[in-house]
C-alpha cells in the first residue's frame, strides 16, 4: 500500500488524472456559453424588468395619480405630482410622474400597490447607459416603455365590469348598465 502511494506520487498520478479530465473536456467540446448579444436566454414569464406606465385600449392613461406606488416604493424611486383632470373635478391623473431608475431594485411593490394596474414590469433589461441622468425617466418615457412592452391593452374598467359602481360622472357617453 505504501509502495503504491510512493509510486503514484513519483509519476504525478493525481496530476495525470486531472490532465486526463481536462483533455476529456477538450476532446468532447460542448460549450455552455450563450453568446449573449446574439443569443438571448429565454426569460421566465414573471421576470421583473424595466417598469412602464400602461394605457387603456382607447389610449387614455390608466394612472389616477393616487400616490400609492410612491408610498409603497422602498427606495423612493417614484415621484408623482397628481392633479385634477382639467374640467373634470372628480377625476384625477398624474400630471407629472418621475422615476429614478438608478435606485430601483425591481422589487415590484409599486406594481402590486397600484389599485388600477397602471404599472407594469416589462421584460426589458438592457438599460445600461453612459450617462446615469438618462435613467431619470419622466411620464412620457415610461408610457413609451409601457406601450412597446405591453401591446395588448385592457378595456377601461367601466367596460370590463358592467356592474362596477359609476363614480366617474364626467365620463362622457356613459354606457348603459347591464343588469
Amino acid at each position: 500500500m505504501k509502495l503504491k502511494k510512493w509510486i503514484q506520487s513519483l509519476i504525478f498520478y493525481e496530476i495525470l488524472l486531472g490532465m486526463k479530465e481536462t483533455l476529456k473536456h477538450f476532446l468532447k467540446y460542448r460549450p455552455i456559453t450563450l453568446e449573449y448579444p446574439h443569443v438571448k436566454k429565454p426569460l421566465p414569464e414573471n421576470y421583473r424588468g424595466m417598469l412602464g406606465l400602461l394605457r387603456y385600449d382607447d389610449d387614455t392613461e390608466k394612472c389616477v395619480g393616487c400616490d400609492l406606488c410612491e408610498a409603497a416604493c422602498p427606495s423612493r424611486v417614484i415621484r408623482v405630482v397628481s392633479a385634477e383632470v382639467p374640467g373634470e373635478p372628480t377625476k384625477r391623473f398624474a400630471k407629472e410622474y418621475y422615476m429614478d431608475m438608478t435606485r430601483c431594485l425591481f422589487c415590484g411593490l409599486c406594481v402590486k400597490a397600484c389599485p388600477v394596474d397602471a404599472l407594469g414590469m416589462s421584460q426589458e433589461f438592457e438599460w445600461a447607459v453612459y450617462d446615469k441622468r438618462n435613467l431619470q425617466l419622466n411620464k412620457e418615457q415610461l408610457l413609451a416603455i409601457g406601450d412597446r412592452a405591453f401591446p395588448e391593452r385592457e378595456k377601461r374598467l367601466e367596460f370590463q365590469h358592467p356592474n362596477v359602481a359609476y363614480f366617474n360622472v364626467s365620463f362622457k357617453d356613459i354606457p348603459e348598465k347591464e343588469f
Binding site: I15, G18, M19, L23, H25, F26, Y29, P31, E35
Partner: protein, 354 residues
C-alpha cells in the same frame, strides 16, 4: 567585401524570417491559449473578431498599440523603460542557435550559408541559459522601478523563483550534454538521428533522460512564469505582479516575452530531448533534398505539442504556494536532477558506445 555583404544580406534575411515566424507564433499563441483554455473549461473563448474570433490577436495588438503609456509617479524612468526591453530581447535572441531543419551548408555565390540555423555556435546551450538569466534582470528591474508594492513583491518573488529554477534547468540539461558530448544544439540534434529510440528522452543505453526531461519541463514552466508557477504574476494576489504598473506597448513587450519564452523552451525541449527535426520513425523522413520539408514539419509539430502541454497544464493545475514552490524546487527537483547526473555519467562511463 562582396562576400561580406552577401553574408550580411543572407543572415539578415534569415534573422528576419525567424523573427517573423516567432512573432507570428506569439500572435497565434495568444489566441490559441485562450481558445484551448476555454475549450477545456467548456467555454468558447473569443468569438467576436472575425470568424470564430481568429482575428482577436490583431485587435489585441491594435488596442495595446494605441493605449496610453503611463509611467507612474516616482518610478525610475530609465529602469522602467529598460525593463521590458531587457525581458523581450533575451527571449527573442535565444532563437539564434535553435536548429529547425537539417544541418546543411549551401554555397551562395561563394559564401557558406546554413539555411536552417542562424548561427551554429559551439556553446549554444550555455548561450540560451545565459540570456535567460538576463531576462530575470528585466523582471526584477521592472518590479523595482515601478514604485509600487505589488510590483516590488512580484519582482522579488520572481527573482527567487527564477534563480532557483534556472539551476534545475541547467542541471537537467547536463545529462543530455554528457550523452551528446557537445554544447552545440546542432550537434545534439545530430546525435539523436534515427528513430524515436535514439532520442535522448527514450534512448535506453546508457540511460534514458526521461526523468531529466520531466525536471526540465517543470523547471522551464517555472522559468517562463506560467501556471502553476506563475507566482510573479499571481493575478489574484499581486494584481499582475511585476508588470502591474505597465500599460500599452511596454506591457505588450512583457506579454510577448512570456510567449516567446514559452516557444523558446518548447524548442529547447524538442532539440535536447526529442530529437529536434528528426522524424519519430526513419520512414517518416523524406529522403535527400526534401528532408527539410519533413524536418521543419516534425520540428513544428513537436514544438506545438509542448506549447499545447503548457496550456494543458495551465488548465489543470492551481497555483502553488510560495513555500511549496521553493521546497519543491530545492528539496525535490534539485536532488533528483543531481542523482540523474550521477547515474547518467556512471552508465555513460560503463557503456561508452551506448
Amino acid at each position: 567585401m562582396f562576400d561580406t555583404s552577401i553574408k550580411l544580406a543572407l543572415t539578415l534575411s534569415q534573422i528576419g524570417a525567424v523573427m517573423g515566424v516567432v512573432l507570428l507564433t506569439v500572435a497565434i499563441l495568444t489566441l490559441l491559449e485562450r481558445k484551448v483554455l476555454s475549450w477545456m473549461q467548456d467555454r468558447m473563448g473569443p468569438m467576436e473578431v472575425g470568424p470564430y474570433g481568429v482575428l482577436q490577436p490583431v485587435a489585441d495588438g491594435l488596442k495595446l498599440f494605441f493605449k496610453e503609456d503611463i509611467i507612474p509617479a516616482g518610478a525610475n524612468k530609465i529602469m522602467f523603460s529598460l525593463a521590458p526591453i531587457l525581458v523581450l530581447v533575451p527571449a527573442l535572441i535565444g532563437f539564434a542557435v535553435i536548429p529547425f531543419g537539417p544541418n546543411w551548408t549551401i554555397d551562395v555565390m561563394g559564401v557558406e550559408f546554413k539555411p536552417f540555423v542562424i548561427s551554429d555556435i559551439n556553446i549554444g546551450v550555455l548561450y540560451i541559459l545565459a540570456f535567460a538569466s538576463i531576462g530575470a534582470y528585466g523582471v526584477i528591474l521592472g518590479g523595482w522601478a515601478s514604485n509600487s508594492k505589488y510590483s516590488l513583491l512580484g519582482g522579488l518573488r520572481s527573482a527567487a523563483q527564477l534563480i532557483s529554477y534556472e539551476l534545475n534547468v541547467g542541471l537537467a540539461i547536463v545529462g543530455v550534454l554528457l550523452l551528446a558530448g557537445s554544447l552545440s544544439l546542432v550537434e545534439i540534434t545530430e546525435a539523436q538521428a534515427g528513430g524515436f529510440w535514439n532520442w535522448f528522452a527514450f534512448d535506453p543505453v546508457p540511460f534514458p533522460q526521461f526523468i531529466a526531461f520531466v525536471i526540465f519541463l517543470i523547471a522551464s514552466v517555472a522559468e517562463t512564469n506560467r501556471l502553476p508557477f506563475d507566482l510573479p504574476e499571481a493575478e489574484s494576489e499581486l494584481v499582475a505582479g511585476f508588470f502591474t504598473e505597465y500599460s500599452g506597448m511596454r506591457f505588450a513587450f512583457f506579454f510577448m516575452a512570456e510567449y516567446a519564452n514559452m516557444i523558446l523552451v518548447s524548442c529547447m525541449s524538442t532539440v535536447l530531448f526529442f530529437g529536434g527535426w528528426h522524424a519519430p520513425l526513419p520512414v517518416l523522413q523524406a529522403p535527400g533534398v526534401f528532408a527539410w520539408v519533413t524536418g521543419i514539419f516534425w520540428f513544428t509539430a513537436k514544438v506545438y505539442f509542448f506549447l499545447f502541454l503548457f496550456f494543458w497544464i495551465r488548465a489543470t493545475l492551481p497555483r502553488l504556494r510560495y513555500d511549496q514552490l521553493m521546497r519543491f524546487g530545492w528539496k525535490v527537483l534539485l536532488p533528483i536532477a543531481l542523482g540523474n547526473i550521477v547515474v547518467t555519467s556512471l552508465l555513460a562511463y560503463i557503456f561508452p558506445n551506448g
